[in-house]
C-alpha cells in the first residue's frame, strides 16, 4: 500500500503563480493522466510531486513522510522520475544506462555488485531490450530509448512512477507500446502518474484524469465520467468531441471559433 498526498501546493515565480493551491491524493494501482495546455503547470506539478522542486507552500507526503525531509536515497528508491525527452549524454551501453537506476542502492565503495545483475536482466527483458543490452544508448531509436529510460526507472523497484510526457516524439506504434506498459505497471500494483498530451490515448489507458489550467485543478476523477467536451473546452480552449469509452474512447478536436 503506497500513498502519495499533496496538500495545497503553491509555486510562485516572481509575481506569477505556476501552481496555485493544488492538492492530490493517490494510491498504488492507479494510472493517472495529467492533462493541461502548455504552460499550465504540469511539469512543475510533477517535479514537486517527485520531491525535486520545493514548493513555496504546501507539502507532499509519501506514505506519511514529507518528501523534503526524507533521505534522498530512500526517496530515490521509493519513487522514480522521468523528465520530458530524456537523453543520454554519453554513448554508454543500454545495460549500463539501466544500471544507473540502481545508484541509490550502491555501496559506498566498489562498483556494481554481482547481485544487481538479475534485477537488470529482469527489467531488460520486461522492456524488450535484452538484444540491445550492449548497444550504445545514443544509437537507439526514439522508442527504444524511451523503453531504456523506463527500464532505468523500474530497475530499482519503485512503488511510484512519475513520468513527464512519455509519448512525446514517438510514432503511433511506439506510443501505444509505451502507454500500454504504463497501464500494465499500474495493474501490477504501482502508482503511475503521467503528463500526457494525447487525449485519446489517455482516455483509453488511464483510469483517472486530473486536468490543470492556470495553475489550478479543474477536474479530478474517474476517466470515463470526467473527460468531457466541456472540460476539454475549459482546459484547452478548443472544441472537442468525446466518443466511446475505455478501449474505444476517442477524442476529436475541431477548429477553434
Amino acid at each position: 500500500m503506497t500513498e502519495i498526498v499533496a496538500k495545497s501546493i503553491v509555486v510562485r515565480r516572481g509575481a506569477r503563480f505556476l501552481l496555485d493551491g493544488v492538492s492530490l491524493s493517490a494510491k498504488n494501482g492507479e494510472f493517472i493522466a495529467l492533462i493541461g495546455a502548455n504552460g499550465a503547470g504540469k511539469s512543475t506539478f510533477l517535479s514537486v510531486l517527485s520531491g525535486l522542486l520545493s514548493p513555496n507552500s504546501g507539502t507532499v507526503e509519501i506514505d506519511g513522510l514529507n518528501v523534503s525531509q526524507m533521505p534522498v536515497t530512500k526517496l530515490a528508491r521509493v519513487r522514480a522520475y522521468l523528465p520530458q525527452n530524456p537523453r543520454c549524454e554519453w554513448p554508454i551501453s543500454v545495460e549500463r544506462l539501466v544500471a544507473l537506476g540502481l545508484t541509490p542502492n550502491l555501496p559506498v565503495f566498489n562498483g556494481m555488485p554481482e547481485s544487481f545483475a538479475p534485477a537488470i536482466e529482469r527489467v531488460l527483458t520486461q522492456c524488450d531490450l535484452l538484444h540491445r543490452r550492449d548497444q550504445p544508448a545514443t544509437t537507439l531509436s526514439g522508442g527504444e530509448l524511451g523503453r531504456a529510460m523506463l527500464a532505468r526507472a523500474l530497475v530499482g523497484g519503485p512503488d511510484i512512477l512519475i513520468v513527464d510526457e512519455p509519448i512525446s516524439g514517438l510514432d503511433p506504434r511506439h506510443a501505444f507500446d509505451a502507454i500500454r506498459r504504463l497501464r500494465d505497471l499500474a495493474r501490477e500494483g504501482k502508482l503511475v502518474i503521467a503528463a500526457i498530451h494525447d487525449l485519446t490515448l489517455a482516455a483509453r489507458y488511464a483510469g483517472r484524469i486530473i486536468a490543470l489550467a492556470g495553475g489550478q485543478i479543474k477536474a479530478d476523477g474517474d476517466m470515463g465520467s470526467t473527460l468531457t467536451a466541456d472540460l476539454i473546452h475549459d482546459v484547452f480552449d478548443v472544441n472537442a468531441r468525446v466518443t466511446g469509452r475505455s478501449a474505444d474512447a476517442a477524442v476529436d478536436f475541431f477548429e477553434p471559433d
Binding site: 534522498v72 554519453w90 545483475a117
Partner: protein, 333 residues
C-alpha cells in the same frame, strides 16, 4: 553480466608499463648524459657522487612533479567534461590555469611567497577558483560552445592581468618571465616544489575522484540525476574546488599548461565504455604519461633557448582540439 570491457585490461597494463618506462627514461635524460652503469657504480659507493645527486635531486623530483601535474590535469579534465557534459571542457580552456597562474604571479613577484612558502600554491588555488567561478557564471546554460567561449574570455583577461602584474613587479626581469607563466615549464624544479604541491594535488585529486558516481548520474541529465539522489550543488562544488586545489597548486609551480586535460579523457573514454566514473583515474594516469612525454621531449629538442612545455602540449593538443570542434559541428542539432 559484462562488468568491464575485456580489452581495457590489456590497455591499462600497457599504460602502466609505458608510465614506468617513461619514468625511467626521464631519470636518465638531461643536459648531461649519465649512463646507467655509472649511476649504479655511484650507488654502490659510500659517498654520493655528483651524477647520482643530479638524478636524485634534480631529475627525480622533476619526473615526479611531471606525473603529479599531468595527473591533476587529466583528472580535472575528466571531471569537468563529466560535469558539464561538454567534450571541450578542461582546466586550460575554462580559464582555470590562467587564473591560477595569475594568483601565483601575484604571490611570487610581490613578496608573499618569500615569506610563506605556501603562498604560491594557495594563491594559485584562489586564482583558479575565481576564474572558474567567472567562467561558469558567464557560460552556464548556453550550450557547449558558450562555456568554452566564456573560458576563452576569462583566460584572456587573466593573461592580460599577468602581463600587467609582471610589468609592475619590482624585479626588472619579471616581464621576461611571462613566457614561462603562459606556456609552462618544469626546468630546474626541485623537491621543494614537490612537497609544496603534493598536499594540494592529493586533496584536490581525492575530491575529484569522489565525484564519479554523481557524474555517472549526470549522464541522464540533471533532473534524473537529482531524482537518483545526487546533490547537484555539492557535485558542482566538488568538481570546481577539486580542480582549483589540484590544478591551481600545480600551475603555481609550472605555469599554465594546456590541453592535457582535454586530450587525456578522450583517449581513455572508448576503453571504459564512455562511463564518466570509469574515465577519472585512467585519465589521470594518461595525463601523467602525456606530460612526462612532453617534458622528456623538451629535453631532447634543443633549438636554442629552452622549449617550453606548453609549446609541445599545444602542438599535440590543438590538432586534437580542431578535430573535436569538427566532430561537435557534425553532431550538433
Amino acid at each position: 553480466m559484462t562488468v568491464a570491457p575485456r580489452p581495457a585490461h590489456h590497455l591499462f597494463a600497457l599504460i602502466a608499463i609505458l608510465l614506468v618506462a617513461l619514468f625511467a627514461i626521464s631519470l636518465l635524460i638531461g643536459a648531461v648524459w649519465l649512463s646507467p652503469v655509472e649511476l649504479i657504480h655511484e650507488v654502490l659507493e659510500k659517498q654520493p657522487q655528483l651524477g647520482l645527486l643530479i638524478v636524485t635531486e634534480l631529475r627525480l623530483p622533476r619526473t615526479i612533479l611531471a606525473c603529479l601535474v599531468g595527473a591533476a590535469l587529466g583528472l580535472s579534465g575528466a571531471a569537468l567534461q563529466g560535469l558539464t557534459r561538454n567534450p571541450l571542457a578542461e582546466p586550460g580552456l575554462l580559464g582555470v590555469t590562467a587564473g591560477a597562474a595569475l594568483g601565483a604571479v601575484i604571490a611570487i613577484y610581490f613578496g608573499m611567497a618569500t615569506q610563506y612558502v605556501i603562498a604560491a600554491p594557495f594563491m594559485g588555488l584562489i586564482g583558479g577558483l575565481l576564474a572558474s567561478a567567472l567562467t561558469f557564471a558567464l557560460g552556464s546554460g548556453g550550450g557547449a560552445i558558450a562555456l568554452v567561449l566564456a573560458g576563452a574570455a576569462v583566460s584572456s583577461l587573466a593573461a592580460a592581468c599577468i602581463s600587467v602584474a609582471l610589468n609592475l613587479a619590482p624585479n626588472p626581469y619579471a616581464a621576461y618571465e611571462i613566457m614561462t607563466w603562459l606556456m609552462g615549464s618544469l626546468a630546474d624544479r626541485s623537491w621543494t616544489h614537490v612537497w609544496m604541491v603534493l598536499p594540494f594535488v592529493v586533496a584536490g585529486g581525492a575530491m575529484l575522484v569522489a565525484t564519479g558516481r554523481g557524474l555517472d548520474g549526470l549522464s541522464l541529465g540533471e533532473m534524473q540525476a537529482q531524482s537518483l539522489g545526487t546533490d547537484l550543488g555539492r557535485l558542482r562544488i566538488s568538481c570546481i574546488l577539486g580542480t582549483a586545489l589540484a590544478v591551481g597548486a600545480a600551475t603555481s609551480v609550472t605555469g599554465a599548461i594546456g590541453f592535457i586535460g582535454l586530450v587525456a579523457p578522450h583517449l581513455v573514454r572508448p576503453f571504459v565504455g564512455h562511463q564518466p566514473s570509469r574515465v577519472l583515474l585512467p585519465a589521470a594516469v594518461v595525463g601523467a604519461l602525456l606530460l612526462l612525454a612532453a617534458d622528456i621531449a623538451t629535453r631532447l629538442l634543443h633549438f636554442g633557448p629552452e622549449m617550453k612545455l606548453g609549446v609541445l602540449t599545444s602542438l599535440i593538443g590543438t590538432p586534437f582540439f580542431f578535430w573535436l570542434v569538427v566532430k561537435i559541428k557534425r553532431t550538433a542539432p
